[in-house]
Symmetry: C2
Subunit: 163 residues, 2 copies
DNA sequence: ACCAAAAATTTTGTCATCAAACTATCTTGC
DNA sequence: GCAAGATAGTTTGATGACAAAATTTTTGGT
């Protein structure tokens, strides 16, 4: 299966004029564009989630749990890429609202595993619907370049993270 | 010179294996990859800046000012894409450290313009050196796809921002 | 001249993030 | 079996972000 995967091309169309002034010092800086695009994307998602009176931070955790139920906070932290201490408050919020349950690990008193409740599963589904809508919007904007874009972004993560 | 600008291709190489587990639900989600990549990039920059005992948040403001001296906080807010209220604390910090000066607008008592001091200019240069090093690292990772990548990211910003 | 509306900035409140310090528990070496 | 070190989770403190409300000043209409 040599070269099995197609090689998507990125058409570098003429940059659209935006209503926002970009300082010359940033115009050619990847980090800047990366940041601005991510913030725009997150903001759009966040707004949609807010309208449903939910918290955007819940989505990733509930979704990871719906896939890998029973992770410990530390494992969860590794999977979702947040510091352990960041999760403490979110997990507390989710527990208070009855979306997760903590179950003591009988072999290690320090540790517990986190499980979704039925309520948590329902909430995950609601958030997932919003997320999918947002994704489709992004997909439409990016178009055929999606796979290539994801590959580059993953390369950035791996290179900066491990190299 | 038809087709004067080359059309960079994105080689979608086989995704490198990373040491981090990516949940299946996120594997194909642009927003997720965008976020993770941006965080990796910012983290790398932040670490470098920290080593020099500086604040990453200063860089964008000082750089914008070095290009457009004398902006008001509101204008600055628009250019750097942050909420006006976010700038208050940073500007205060920069003023305390003598990197900027506030100059009352004689025609409008509510408003003032922000100017770099010599100290601020020196600080901007130091931060800029760090930023350039970081940029070069990103450029190396992204390679020939840079222009195409920036174009897509800008498209995301414009579409989500105005659409 | 006055009063209402708009505008520029700051203040306040909430949230997410990391790093460092802390507590409790487990594991290991001796 | 015990002390030293590692690990799990939480707490605390700093940063930086937004939104909403408050403040001050300007502008506009009558």
């Amino acid at each position: 299966m040599a070269k099995s995967s197609a090689k998507p091309k990125l058409e570098a169309s003429r940059p659209e004029e935006s209503d926002v002034l970009i300082p010359a010092a940033f115009r050619n800086v990847l980090g800047y564009h990366l940041r601005v695009a991510q913030e725009a994307s997150f903001q759009a998602f966040s707004t949609a989630v807010d309208k449903a009176d939910l918290k955007p931070g819940w989505y990733s955790i509930l979704t990871i749990l719906s896939e890998y139920d029973g992770l410990t906070p530390s494992e969860l932290s590794r999977v979702c890429g947040r510091d352990r201490s960041t999760l403490t408050a979110t997990l507390k919020g989710l527990a208070i609202r009855g979306m997760i349950e903590r179950q003591q690990n009988p072999d290690d008193q320090r540790s517990y595993s986190v499980r979704l409740t039925d309520e948590g599963r329902r909430m995950q589904a609601r958030l997932h619907a919003i997320a999918r809508k947002h994704d489709r919007r992004l997909d439409e904007i990016v178009g055929e370049d999606k796979a290539a874009l994801i590959a580059i972004l993953a390369r950035i993560v791996n290179s900066l993270g491990n190299g």
